[in-house]
Symmetry: C2
Amino acid sequence: MTDAKSTEEKILEAAKQEFLEKGFSGARMEAIAQRAGINKALLHYYFRNKERLFEEVFAYFFRQILPGLRQIVESDAPVLDKMDRFVQHYIDFLRRNPDLPLFIMHELRTGPKERLRSLVEKKMTEFEYVRSFIMQIAMAGARGEIRAVPPLHIVLNVVSMCVFPFVARPMLMGVTGISETDFEELLEQRKTVVADFIRAALKP
Amino acid sequence: MTDAKSTEEKILEAAKQEFLEKGFSGARMEAIAQRAGINKALLHYYFRNKERLFEEVFAYFFRQILPGLRQIVESDAPVLDKMDRFVQHYIDFLRRNPDLPLFIMHELRTGPKERLRSLVEKKMTEFEYVRSFIMQIAMAGARGEIRAVPPLHIVLNVVSMCVFPFVARPMLMGVTGISETDFEELLEQRKTVVADFIRAALKP
DNA sequence: GTCTATAATTTGATAGAC
DNA sequence: GTCTATCAAATTATAGAC
């Protein structure tokens, strides 16, 4: 197919980059136009204003926040295996989208509160899977399959350990002084280290 | 004493709030002036421009990022006890400064890269303690006191589990639908849950 | 649909009186 | 030190030709 991207697609692509790098208030319409290889006026032709363009981009990223969770949660593997799979899959995903979490968190924190509510209402599906997962963990705990730890905290721990390195990346590299490639290596190790850590922590 | 705050202090106080809430690019000098009960001109009298005022504020917050670490690391308690103490102490600190991590991370990510370097050079003391802690963990692992897990990953895990709930707070409350007070309760529980989790994960 | 030119607004910063 | 008034620059948004 390799058909040239439509102008609208080019704009969205450019806007994603700019907003991701600078955040809403730091992003510049002019910069987005340049990235897209067009001029400002055309931005406003396709998307009325900065706010609307941002909403489009933000909603797109928000939908991606927990990819592939369904497959994992709905399978009939033991919960510990599901956690393994989640950790591996999620860290790989974040390596391809390293700025996503910080972007979402910052905009959720600084932006208007309606932003979250409207999105949660539409895209509750992923969140349903989170709740399902929590239930499954609770049941596994009840039947002694794993150690009794409050399920919500378990999920929090798992996600924390996956996401945090990406959020804290600049600090981490500043403190340890490790290189770009060492950091990548660290993330690769982390897929198994974190999975092991969780298994050990939940051993009955 | 109860002496009225000096104008400079009022400005800094106001600037901390504004920058913390909105970030550098989202903050408005006008808003800071209003919060401080003065006018814009006076801001520029005390701090030449927005950038300088921000640097002041940012450096202040940055210094606070790992409070009380020294006491914990330098004591001669077993490493696991130190981790307990760190978790309890750090979560309590973050409850009093819930927006600190996200603010630092976002500005480190979006701001000029010199920002980090200059601060790291000055305030390496806290980071030294982190490195000491990592060494202590490595040694504890070598003598079988804890399970053999790469020390850097252990520290990452500990910090992750403490910090992440604060970074992800809006998302967390959106997903689970829990109330403000329930969230506080969750954090309180977390002090012991996380400490336990780590102990279990590191049991030889 | 796309552009150039320009308006309208916001916002950081300064001049100068008190 | 503090204020009012104002400027200059940056930035979003629109008008109108092609």
